[in-house]
C-alpha cells in the first residue's frame, strides 16, 4: 500500500505538467492583442499604450516553447504572475481566497456525503415504500433546479423577507473584529479561527452567513449521491451473502451495517471523490451569489476577463488538490474491498 501511495505521488508532477501544457496550448489560440486586453479595460488607458512594444516586452510573439519555458521557470520560483481580476499576485490571490472556499467546501462536504449516504441507505432499505419515494423526489427536485435559482430564491426568502441569513461571509461587526489586531488569523478559516480565538460572537455570525450557501450546495448535490448509494445498496441487499446472513438469524441492523453498507460504499466512494471536484464547480456559482470571496468567484471573474495568469495558476492549484483527492479515493477502494488488486 505504501509503495502504491508513493508511486502515485511521484506521478503527481507529471499529471500537473500535463494539465498545464494542455491549457497553455489552448491559450495559444488567442491573438497577442487578445491576451493583452486583460490590461486594457479602460479606453483612457488605451491612449498611451503601444501594443507592439508590449507584445515585444511580454514575448507574446515568441515561439510557444520559449514562452512556456519562460513561464515554467517562473512557476518553479513561485512567481505565478499577476492576477488583474484580483488586483494582486496570483499566489497572493490563492492564499487569500483558498481559506474561504475551504471553509465553504468543508462545511458542505459533510452534509452532502453523510446526508447522501444516509438518505440513499434509507431509500434502499425501505425500497418502494412511501419513504423511498419521498426522499427520491426531494433529492431529485434539488438536482433538477439550477443552483443559482435555488440560491437566489433562498436568499430572497430567508434574507429578503425573513432577514435571517444575510449574504456575504461576515456582518459589519464581526468583520471589524476579525480585521482588528485582537483577533489572530491562524488559518484564514473564519469559523476555525473564531473557535481558536474563543470568540463565539464571530463564530455565530460566520455560521449564520454559512447556512444558506451550505444548504444550497447540499440540496443540489444530494440527489447524485443518493441515487448511487441507493442503487448500490439495493444491489448489495440482494446479494447472496446478505440473504445468508439474514438466514443465519442476524439482526437486520447488523446485516445492513456490517455487510451491505460496506460493499455498497464502493461506488459511493467514487461519487464522494467526484463530489470533491463537483464542489469546486458548485462553489463558482454559490460564491458569486452569496458574495463569498473565494477561489470559485475569482476563477469566474478571471475567465470572464481573460486573466490568463490567474486561470493558469488556478488550474495548477486545482490540479494538485484533485490529484490528491483521487489518490485518497483509490486508497479507500483498496481499504473497503480487499479483493481489488492494486498492482
Amino acid at each position: 500500500m505504501l509503495a502504491y501511495i508513493i508511486r502515485r505521488l511521484l506521478i503527481l508532477p507529471v499529471v500537473v505538467l500535463g494539465c498545464i501544457i494542455l491549457v497553455f496550448a489552448v491559450m495559444q489560440l488567442l491573438s497577442p492583442y487578445e491576451r493583452l486586453s486583460i490590461y486594457c479595460s479602460n479606453p483612457a488607458e488605451l491612449k498611451n499604450i503601444d501594443f507592439d512594444v508590449l507584445i515585444e516586452r511580454y514575448g507574446l510573439n515568441d515561439p510557444i516553447y520559449s514562452q512556456f519555458a519562460d513561464w515554467f521557470w517562473k512557476v518553479m520560483h513561485g512567481e505565478l504572475g499577476w492576477s488583474q481580476s484580483a488586483a494582486r499576485p496570483v499566489m497572493g490571490a490563492f492564499m487569500r481566497f483558498m481559506p474561504v472556499s475551504a471553509e465553504l467546501a468543508l462545511w458542505s462536504a459533510l452534509p452532502i456525503i453523510l446526508g447522501g449516504i444516509w438518505l440513499g441507505s434509507l431509500s434502499a432499505v425501505k425500497h418502494n415504500k412511501p419513504i423511498d419515494h419521498i426522499t427520491r423526489i426531494f433529492a431529485i427536485t434539488g438536482w433538477s433546479l439550477p443552483t443559482f435559482v435555488a440560491g437566489l430564491l433562498g436568499l430572497f426568502l430567508f434574507y429578503g423577507i425573513l432577514g435571517w441569513f444575510p449574504p456575504g461571509q461576515l456582518g459589519l461587526g464581526a468583520s471589524a473584529i476579525v480585521r482588528s489586531s485582537q483577533f489572530v488569523n491562524y488559518t484564514g478559516i473564519i469559523t476555525l479561527d473564531a473557535v481558536l480565538n474563543w470568540n463565539w460572537y464571530v463564530f455565530g455570525d460566520a455560521v449564520r452567513h454559512l447556512f444558506l450557501p451550505v444548504f444550497t450546495l447540499a440540496y443540489v448535490s444530494w440527489a447524485m449521491l443518493l441515487r448511487v448509494m441507493r442503487a448500490s445498496m439495493l444491489e448489495t441487499l440482494r446479494q447472496d451473502y446478505v440473504t445468508t446472513a439474514r438466514a443465519k438469524g442476524l439482526e437486520e441492523r447488523v446485516v445492513i451495517k456490517k455487510h451491505a453498507r460496506r460493499n455498497a460504499l464502493i461506488p459511493a466512494v467514487t461519487i464522494a471523490g467526484v463530489t470533491v471536484a463537483f464542489l469546486f464547480n458548485g462553489l463558482v456559482i454559490t460564491e458569486t451569489i452569496f458574495d463569498f470571496h473565494g477561489l470559485g468567484r475569482w476563477a469566474a471573474r478571471a475567465a470572464q476577463t481573460f486573466d490568463l495568469p490567474a486561470l493558469l495558476g488556478y488550474l495548477l492549484f486545482n490540479g494538485v488538490l484533485i490529484v490528491f483527492a483521487n489518490l485518497i479515493v483509490d486508497v479507500m477502494y483498496a481499504y473497503i474491498d480487499p479483493r481489488v488488486r492494486l498492482e
Partner: protein, 635 residues
C-alpha cells in the same frame, strides 16, 4: 382559531420588514455597495474611476470644485465647472488673472502661482510643504507609465509639444529610446541633463513658499486638470514616499522609477497599496476585489468628517445588492439603469433622476479603409451582396444613410427607460453649455426616406445595386450596445432586400483587438471626462492622434489631420472662453457635415441612496461619493 393566530404571526413577520421610519442602521458608518475594481492607490499611476474614487477621499489637490447637494431632501445643482469658480484647497488662493497669480509673458509663456496652506498634516504624521507639491508633479511626470494619466500634465507643461515623457527625452538627449523602453539604460549624466533642462524648471518653489508652474504656451484647461477629482493632481508627502522606496528627488536617478511594471503591473509601483494624504479619511484597509474601508482622520485641517467609518463593498450580483440595500444594511448602492424600477418606490430609498453627466458614452465610430487581413466581419471583402470592400465607409453618403437609420427616440424611450436620456451631437458634450451649439439643424434624426435617398447616392449607386453584408459586433454583457446594433440591422435591412447585417456578441478582449486592428466597420465605445473641458473630448473623437479617432482608418484620420487638428490647436491657443466657444461650435458644425461618428443618445445621471443619507455632494466631475460632507439623519 389556531389558523388565525398563525396567519397573524406570518403577517407580523412579513410586515416587520417593511416598517416605515426604520431605525438608522450603523449611524456613524456608511456602507456603499458597488462593483468596480480598484487597480492602484498610486495617484500618479491611477487612471480609472474606481481607483480615482479612493484617492479622491483620502488625498487632496491644490484646488477644488464647488459642489451642490443631492440627497433625500434637496436637489441643489449649484455646482460649477467653470475655472473661475475653483476654490482653494491645499492652496490658499486660486490663481486668477485678476489676483495676479496667473501671469502671461510676451514670449507666450504663462505662470500659475499657488500660495500653499500652512498647518496641514498628513495621515502618517508629516506636514505639507511647498516642496511636497513640487515633488508630486515631478515624480508623476518622470513616472509617466504606459496607459497612464501623466499626458495631462506633460502636454500643458511642455507647451503642448509632447504627450509622452519619452518623446521629450528623445528630443532633449537627441537619442531614440524606442518608445521609452531604453530609458532604464540612461546614464546618470543623461538623466541629470534631462531633468535639469526639461523637468526642473517646470515646477518651482519660490522664496516666499509658493509653488509656481511654468507653461511654455497657453493651455486654457490647465487649472481644471489640477483640480480635486483628478487623482494625478493629488499631493504626496515627499519624505513619506521616499520612505516607501520612491524616487529621492535627485536629478540623476529618476529613470529607475520610470514606467513601473510597463504600465501593466500596478504592483510595481511603491505606492500601489499604501496611501498617505491630507484628506478627511485615512485608509483602514484595502482587500482587492473585496472591500476598501476608510477611517476618519481627526487631525484634518478642516472640521473632521461626520461619519467615522466608510465601508465600500464590491458585490457583482445585482440581487444580492438589492437585498442588502432594501434592508438598510447598505446606504448607497450602484444600480444599473434597467433595474431602477426595482428600487423606486421602496420606502426608505430615495431615487433622484435627471442629473447632469459628463461623458459621451456610447458613441458609434465608422472605420474607413478597413483592415481586411483575417477579418471575418466583412464577408467576401468585395463589392458584392455577400461582403463589403475595405473602403466601404469612406463614402460620406453611406455614413449619412446610417445616421438617418438609427431610431434615436426609441432608444431613449425603451432602452434608457426610467432613467431617461437626451439627444446629443458631438464631439463636445452638452454639459459644456458655453461650447455646445444646440442648433437643431446639426442633429441627425431618424428618417428612413432620407436614409434611402442617401443610400442611393452612396458610391454613385453602387451600394444600392450590389447590396452588401457585414457583421456588427457588440461587447458581450452590454445589452445597450446589442440594441444599438439590432436597431441598425432592422432599419438598414428594411431599405433593400440586398442589405444584410449580422449581429454578434464577442468578449471585450476580442472587441478591443478588432478596434485596434481597424477591423470593425462600425464600433461603439464611450469616453468619460478626465477634466471638464471640451479639449478632453475633441482629442479622442476628432484628432488625428486621438484614442478613438486614431482607429478610424487612413482616410478619416487624414481628414482629422487636415480639418480638425488645426481647429483643436487654435482652440487651445487662446484663453478667452468666448473665442474658444466659437471654434468648438465650428467643430460641431463640420462634424455634422462630415458625419464621421454616430452620435447616440446619452443616459441621464441618477442617484440611489437611503433616505437617511444627507449631505451627499454633487458635481458631475466627481468620480464617486465624497464622504466628507455626508452624515446620516432624518430631516
Amino acid at each position: 382559531m389556531k389558523r388565525i393566530w398563525l396567519l397573524s404571526l406570518a403577517l407580523v413577520l412579513v410586515l416587520s420588514v417593511f416598517t416605515l421610519g426604520q431605525e438608522i442602521t450603523n449611524p456613524d458608518t456608511i456602507v456603499r455597495i458597488e462593483y468596480g475594481t480598484i487597480n492602484t492607490l498610486d495617484p500618479a499611476y491611477s487612471y480609472d474611476t474606481s481607483s480615482g474614487a479612493v484617492i479622491f477621499n483620502i488625498m487632496e489637490n491644490l484646488i477644488m470644485w464647488p459642489a451642490g447637494v443631492v440627497d433625500a431632501d434637496e436637489t441643489d445643482l449649484s455646482y460649477s465647472l467653470a475655472t473661475a469658480d475653483l476654490l482653494p484647497m491645499l492652496a490658499t488662493v486660486t490663481p486668477l488673472v485678476d489676483n495676479g497669480l496667473i501671469v502671461t509673458y510676451p514670449d507666450g509663456s504663462i505662470t500659475y502661482q499657488f500660495p500653499i496652506r500652512k498647518g496641514v498634516k498628513f495621515h502618517e504624521g508629516g506636514s505639507l510643504t511647498p516642496e511636497d507639491v513640487e515633488y508630486t508633479f515631478e515624480r508623476g511626470m518622470l513616472q509617466d507609465r504606459d496607459g497612464g494619466p501623466q499626458w495631462m500634465l506633460i502636454e500643458p507643461l511642455s507647451g503642448s509639444k509632447y504627450g509622452r515623457l519619452y518623446q521629450w527625452v528623445n528630443d532633449v538627449l537627441g537619442i531614440d529610446t524606442e518608445k521609452g523602453t531604453l530609458i532604464e539604460d540612461l546614464t546618470p549624466e543623461q538623466q541629470t541633463k534631462f531633468y535639469n533642462e526639461a523637468i526642473d524648471p517646470l515646477v518651482e518653489v519660490t522664496t516666499t513658499g509658493d509653488v509656481v508652474f511654468h507653461l511654455a504656451a497657453p493651455y486654457p484647461p490647465f487649472l481644471t486638470i489640477l483640480a480635486h477629482a483628478g487623482n494625478w493632481g493629488a499631493i504626496l508627502d515627499k519624505e513619506w514616499v521616499i520612505e516607501q522606496g520612491g524616487w529621492d528627488g535627485a536629478a540623476d536617478d529618476w529613470a529607475a522609477w520610470y514606467n513601473p511594471g510597463g504600465g501593466q503591473a500596478a504592483e510595481a509601483s511603491e505606492l500601489y497599496d499604501v496611501i498617505n494624504g491630507t484628506g478627511p479619511y485615512m485608509l483602514d484597509h484595502w482587500d482587492p476585489g473585496v472591500d476598501v474601508v476608510y477611517e476618519r482622520f481627526d487631525g484634518y485641517w478642516r472640521e473632521p468628517a461626520a461619519i467615522k467609518t466608510v465601508v465600500n463593498k464590491k458585490i457583482q450580483e445585482w440581487s444580492a445588492r438589492l437585498l442588502l440595500f432594501g434592508r438598510g444594511d447598505a446606504d448607497i448602492c450602484s444600480v444599473d439603469p434597467q433595474y431602477l424600477t426595482q428600487v423606486m418606490g421602496q420606502p426608505g430609498i430615495v431615487t433622484t433622476l435627471n442629473l447632469p453627466t459628463l461623458g459621451l458614452n456610447p458613441a458609434g465610430f465608422f472605420t474607413s479603409d478597413l483592415n481586411l487581413q483575417g477579418n471575418d466581419l466583412v464577408g467576401s471583402g468585395k463589392w458584392a451582396e455577400d461582403g463589403i470592400p475595405s473602403e466601404f465607409f469612406n463614402d460620406l453618403h453611406l455614413r449619412k444613410a446610417f445616421a438617418y437609420s438609427f431610431e434615436y427616440q426609441t432608444y431613449i424611450d425603451e432602452v434608457l427607460g426610467v432613467a431617461g436620456g437626451y439627444r446629443t451631437h458631438g464631439p463636445v458634450p452638452k454639459a459644456f453649455g458655453w461650447a455646445y451649439d444646440d442648433d437643431p439643424a446639426i442633429y441627425y434624426n431618424f428618417d428612413i426616406e432620407k436614409a434611402t435617398a442617401e443610400m442611393k447616392l452612396a458610391w454613385d449607386g453602387k451600394v444600392w445595386d450590389s447590396g452588401f453584408t457585414f457583421t456588427l459586433l457588440y461587447n458581450e454583457g452590454n445589452q445597450g450596445r446589442k440594441v444599438i446594433a439590432e436597431i441598425l440591422e432592422k432599419n438598414i435591412e428594411s431599405m433593400n432586400p440586398k442589405f444584410h447585417i449580422d449581429v454578434r456578441g464577442v468578449p471585450w478582449a476580442s472587441y478591443l483587438d478588432r478596434m485596434v486592428t481597424e477591423q470593425m466597420p462600425l464600433f461603439v465605445i464611450g469616453w468619460l471626462a478626465d477634466f471638464p473641458d471640451p479639449h478632453n473630448f475633441v482629442i479622442p473623437f476628432a484628432s488625428s492622434t486621438g484614442t478613438f479617432s486614431g482607429w478610424q482608418g487612413k482616410t478619416l484620420v487624414a481628414m482629422f489631420a487636415e480639418k480638425y487638428d488645426p481647429l483643436i490647436s487654435a482652440a487651445m491657443a487662446t484663453s478667452v472662453q468666448a473665442e474658444r466657444a466659437v471654434i468648438y461650435k465650428q467643430i460641431e458644425h463640420i462634424s455634422y457635415d462630415d458625419c464621421y461618428d454616430l452620435w447616440l443618445p446619452q443616459v441621464n445621471g441618477y442617484r440611489v441612496q437611503r433616505d437617511w443619507v444627507q449631505g451627499y455632494a454633487f458635481n458631475p466631475i466627481f468620480p464617486d461619493v465624497y464622504y466628507y460632507s455626508v452624515y446620516k439623519a432624518y430631516e
